[in-house]
């Protein structure tokens, strides 16, 4: 390649530098460090162990779980707008069962089943009817909202009475094992499972192939429709876990609360793509993205920005990361 001696002497232009995929990663890492340094100086109590434990427990866990499913969906080139419905339905069924004193397996199984129903509906629409994921999951989101409104008399939250809760219920939301909170263990376990699934199995390769080029995947004999159906089922089931943890933490079911995680999950996944050498969604990248978002949310709170400005702040941050991600993709061709 470099047989022409003059090419080595020509200094690299900025565009060429950017075109090397690694440079974009350095830019994101640099931005991450800058945000971190800024918060450490500006926010009192940001750089303490207890604050980091707080970030991991309160900001990180649920978003991380939701983002895992989203990563899988986005890596097939689809999108799941109904993550909120999955979270809410699982939370609704779970809390309803707990409130009538059902046992642990029944309540958790019921909750997961609620979420899987959402995913099954998506899988049917996308895999069998071949409706575009965006519209299919949008339809599911609507129908899910109606179901919740009908089930809760127009959106009444269900609160559990604190005194009568079984111990396992408390444990899901607030227990800890070896000094690490249980929800965090759960998130880490799912993370490992998803990492192995996406990076070490034939199914994982299929999802990546599907996202890279669906027609090539189809001609190579990948079971395109089955794979995408499973992906939406898995995403919904993962949201179901998030819904159970969420409702066990706040000891209540609040209708339509799951939608708040949608944009953050998409944002985190795209932050992840800027960190990946091939620029595709990956579990590790997404987890770093979730970490970045949680740190920013926590830091802005400590600086004293109220909730409203936080939303603007994280929105603008996600916008810039997306811009970088897509500029990088464009430069790479």
């Amino acid at each position: 390649m470099n047989s022409d001696p003059s090419s080595a002497a020509v200094p690299e232009t900025i565009v060429q530098w950017l075109r090397r995929s690694s440079s974009l990663r350095y830019t994101v890492v640099l931005a991450f460090l800058l945000v971190f340094a800024f918060l450490s100086v500006k926010a009192p109590g940001f750089l303490t162990v207890s604050n980091f434990a707080n970030i991991l427990l309160n900001n990180f866990t649920i978003l991380a779980i939701v983002s895992l499913g989203m990563t899988l969906v986005l890596s097939t080139g689809g999108i799941d707008l109904s993550v909120g419905t999955g979270i809410d339905l699982s939370s609704l069924v779970f809390i309803s069962l707990v409130s009538v004193h059902q046992s642990l397996p029944v309540a958790i199984g019921g909750g997961l089943l609620g979420a899987v129903a959402t995913g099954g509906f998506n899988a049917f629409l996308i895999g069998a009817l071949r409706i575009v994921p965006f519209l299919a999951t949008l339809g599911t989101l609507f129908i899910g909202e109606s179901v919740q409104q009908l089930a809760t008399n127009g959106g009444q939250p269900i609160y559990l009475i604190t005194g009568t809760l079984p111990s396992w219920f408390i444990y899901i939301g607030h227990g800890s094992l070896f000094g690490v909170p249980f929800p965090l263990w759960l998130a880490v376990a799912l993370m490992v499972a998803y990492y192995l699934l996406t990076e070490r199995t034939a199914f994982g390769r299929n999802t990546v192939a599907l996202g890279a080029n669906p027609s090539v995947a189809w001609y190579s004999g990948a079971r395109v429709r089955l794979t995408s159906a499973i992906v939406y089922l898995l995403s919904a089931a993962t949201c179901g876990v998030a819904g159970i943890v969420l409702s066990a933490t706040i000891k209540a079911y609040v209708p339509l609360s799951g939608n708040a995680y949608l944009l953050d999950a998409i944002g985190a996944t795209f932050i992840g793509t800027t960190l990946h050498p091939e620029g595709r969604p990956s579990v590790i990248g997404t987890m770093l993205g979730v970490l970045l978002l949680s740190i920013v949310t926590n830091g802005l709170l400590l600086i004293g920005w109220n909730f409203y400005w936080q939303q603007v702040g994280t929105g603008v941050l996600i916008f810039f990361v997306l811009a970088m991600s897509f500029i990088g993709r464009r430069l790479r061709g």
Binding site: S146, Y308, Q311, L322, F326
Partner: protein
Amino acid sequence: MIESKNQGYSGEINVDRDWRRSVAPTRRFSVIWRRINGGVLLRAGSLMGFALVIAYFALAAPGFLSMGNVANVLEQSAILGVLSFGLTIVMIAGGSNVITGGIDLSIANNLGLSAAVYAATLKIDQPDIVALELTLATGLAVGSLNAIAVVGIGILPLIATLTVANICAGFELVITQNTVLQANSPFLTVLAGNGPFGISTPAYLLLMVAIVLIVAIEFTPFGLRLYAVGGFREAALASSLSVNGYVAASYILSGICGSIGAVLSVALLSGSSTGSGDMLLSVVVTALLGVVFSRRLVPTISGSLLSVLFIGFLINGFQLTNISSYWVNGVEGVLILFAVATTSLVCRTEA
């Protein structure tokens, strides 16, 4: 004989055209569809569905077809209608592919932010004209931000506009502190009042905006080029149209529609309101359903007008026959899926 010929032909074409199509099971079906021309059938069916719904409610709910109630439906459809026109324009210029094509998910939050700007400007004792200017400027800014993100930076429209929607929602919260800002002014009173024949001004405004846009999009070179850019991007590029310019223009027009909707909403609700982002779903349904009402199964302003009236009559009929409003979202979700499934079926088997 003829059928077997058709089979081989459609099989070959379809493998090239559409990778997901499993050829075998739909072959016979496709031949049948082509003979009876699915598009025409679907459109006729949709119009008939519209007529049936109206006929049902006219029988079930006395007063449904009275002048007052029709005017009422028009008034209540005004905001949704203007927003769905904006989304329709974006869909026209962006093309029908939902992932890479045009979509503006920020339009409902744009309305929320613009309405908050209008109400907040009146609150600091500025005249209506200043508030109007600032509101339009807000809509323009949101539209331009979308245009920059989509055309300039190249972010997928779906994700770009979703992010802009969140930023708008954040700013709206900052301005309103999550409360309702009351707004009253002579201009708003006129806007919310009645025009000739006892039909309210918003209803007239909806029809006016619709007529202006129908003329501009369906009967001018600009509109034709907008369709060309969305439908045949390569051809548009080859005939030296500024594709990026038209796509950017569509997002900016959509932003302006958002702020027009905002002014209407401030007038009708006497102030800003929280939770305007929830309207997004209805806007998307309306624009998608509009496709079924058009002859060539493409987004059109007239189709969206029909579809907003259809949804308006449907919701109104629900209220008159005492069906719980909690069903509305679900019905809209089913309508989306119906519209999308049928159009994709027809498009796949036609051509």
